[in-house]
């Protein structure tokens, strides 16, 4: 996932090289299970809850959460995907990818939205997502679930559900997939 995004996006344009595995696939499953339970606990069930995965890395996280919520609750909440590329404040520094589809078929008026993303960093993606979601309706509440919170926030945004708090340096890059979480660097 990450290679594809960065390969197309100068000035990054390099290859992700992992230096350390932070979570393996079992750790990820345990984190997902815990976050799913927290979502149910916090919202007293799943009524009106809608899961929105942010393209591209958040979609897998949303799908894993949906699967876990289904085991807890019998059925999983409606699932959507959102591409925030056209809402970003750094538009033009990243490509708009045709395969990053926005698909929100459920009515968001009055819904409790749980945004799912892979990595929370500056918070700018989430700011863009909040803007975009408000064009689809007036949700009752928006919550945020991330697999990794790596710090370095530039906006007053905090996650509600966190898989792993991971202190990082700014020149490092975190890659999340269903196989694991890796800490590494983009090399030319």
């Amino acid at each position: 996932m990450i290679e594809k995004e960065r390969g197309q996006a100068p000035p990054f344009g390099g290859v992700f090289v992992a230096h350390a595995r932070v979570l393996d696939s079992e750790d990820i499953q345990r984190a997902i299970q815990r976050m799913a339970h927290e979502i149910v606990e916090r919202n007293h069930g799943l009524e009106n809850v809608v899961l929105i995965g942010l393209q591209t890395g958040g979609v897998v996280v949303a799908e894993m959460l949906a699967e876990a919520l289904k085991e807890i609750n019998g059925s999983h909440p409606p699932l959507g995907t959102l591409d925030v590329a056209l809402h970003r404040d750094d538009i033009g520094m990243r490509p708009v990818m045709p395969e990053a589809v926005t698909d929100i078929s459920v009515d968001l008026d009055g819904a409790t939205i749980v945004i799912a993303d892979d990595v929370l960093y500056t918070g700018r993606t989430i700011r863009a997502a909040l803007d975009a979601l408000c064009d689809f309706g007036r949700p009752k509440e928006i919550q945020l679930a991330v697999m990794v919170d790596r710090g370095h926030r530039e906006l007053p945004i905090r996650p509600d559900y966190v898989g792993k708090n991971l202190p990082t340096r700014k020149d490092e890059v975190v890659d999340v997939s269903s196989e694991g979480v890796d800490l590494g660097r983009i090399e030319k």
């Binding site: 056209l86 750094d90 538009i91 045709p98």
Partner: protein, 320 residues
């Protein structure tokens, strides 16, 4: 970066198949925005799109303005009839004035071929050719290709007939180039007087007989019979044209069941297309109009918003 085409979009000629496909693929993203409850994104906030129309238009102009607004760009609009052109101001002065108001992109339509190209040489703003005389109308060809791709999956191997006044049609010229580049087989159907003399070398087949062609095609693309041409003596009479080339219900019944009927608009009902045929389920004429907005959003975004300028002096740290 692959999403930074040249400064302007002036013609299909000179574009590559890859560029066409890139625009068509990106258009899906913008098509989705049009279906949202609030169909607007902030992508081009602070940018200004000016439409300069030296010739009348309904859909092209509205379509560009709608596309610009959905991307949050500001719009300015200029029509020859109600401007200082009538006081003798030149096109070049007009363009410089509009640029001085801060236009980042000019959408130009003019009755003389090559005007968009000339304006592009004068200005630093991007230019989109929205029709120059009998030359080209590239965004129409792109929206046509997008419409066909949406209904048929791909243009590869489609057999498309373009019927009518090919000689004066900028739409036909752009369509022939785009359709054939995307792998379709194009047949031009028209009376000999309405075919351009320089037709040799075009990647097309020619026919003077619509009835023979209809059962063999996947798409029937009708062109408008331009009223202003009827008196030029190129067709004996409107009635004769309708008899030989008008798509009526009887003719439409010989088209394959899954064929599509297209028209760039405005239609002359009762001449090139019978009213009942325009309402045929195979007609995608209104679809073309709706897709026009999506394709123009994609083009405006590629020319203005994909960050060509930002990228040049980008000193950005790796951003998660």
């Amino acid at each position: 970066m692959n999403q930074s085409p040249s400064k302007s979009l002036l013609s299909i000629e000179g574009m590559t198949k890859h560029e066409l496909e890139e625009i068509l693929e990106l258009t899906d993203t913008f098509d989705e925005i049009g279906r949202r409850p609030i169909p607007k994104v902030p992508a081009l906030r602070g940018r200004t799109v000016a439409t300069l129309f030296f010739e009348d238009s309904t859909r092209t102009r509205l379509s560009f303005e709608t596309a610009a607004r959905r991307l949050s760009a500001d719009t300015m609009s200029f029509s020859a009839g109600s401007s200082s052109l009538s006081k003798g101001e030149s096109i070049r002065d007009t363009v410089e004035v509009i640029e001085a108001y801060g236009a980042d992109l000019l959408v130009v339509r003019h009755p003389a071929a090559g005007t968009a190209q000339r304006i592009d040489n004068w200005t630093n703003a991007s230019v989109i050719n929205a029709g120059d005389g009998c030359h080209e109308h590239p965004t129409q060809a792109l929206l046509d290709a997008y419409t066909l791709r949406k209904h048929k999956g791909s243009l590869e191997g489609l057999r498309i007939a373009i019927v009518g006044d090919i000689l004066h049609s900028r739409v036909a010229r752009s369509d022939v180039l785009a359709f054939s580049m995307l792998g379709a087989e194009v047949v031009l159907v028209a009376p000999p007087t309405l075919l351009p003399p320089s037709i040799e070398g075009w990647p097309v087949e020619i026919s003077y007989n619509l009835d023979e062609i209809l059962p063999t095609i996947d798409v029937c693309y009708l062109l408008r019979v331009q009223n202003e041409r009827i008196n030029e003596g190129l067709i004996p009479s409107v009635r004769e044209y309708v008899t030989d080339y008008g798509l009526n219900v009887k003719r439409a019944s010989t088209l394959p069941k899954d064929a599509l009927i297209c028209h760039p608009g405005p239609t002359n009902r009762g001449i090139e297309i019978e009213a009942a045929v325009a309402a045929d389920p195979r007609s995608v004429i209104l679809d073309q109009v709706a897709n026009g907005v999506s394709i123009r959003m994609a083009i405006l975004f590629l020319l203005l918003g994909s960050g060509r300028n930002l990228m040049e002096d980008a000193d950005v740290e790796v951003n998660q």
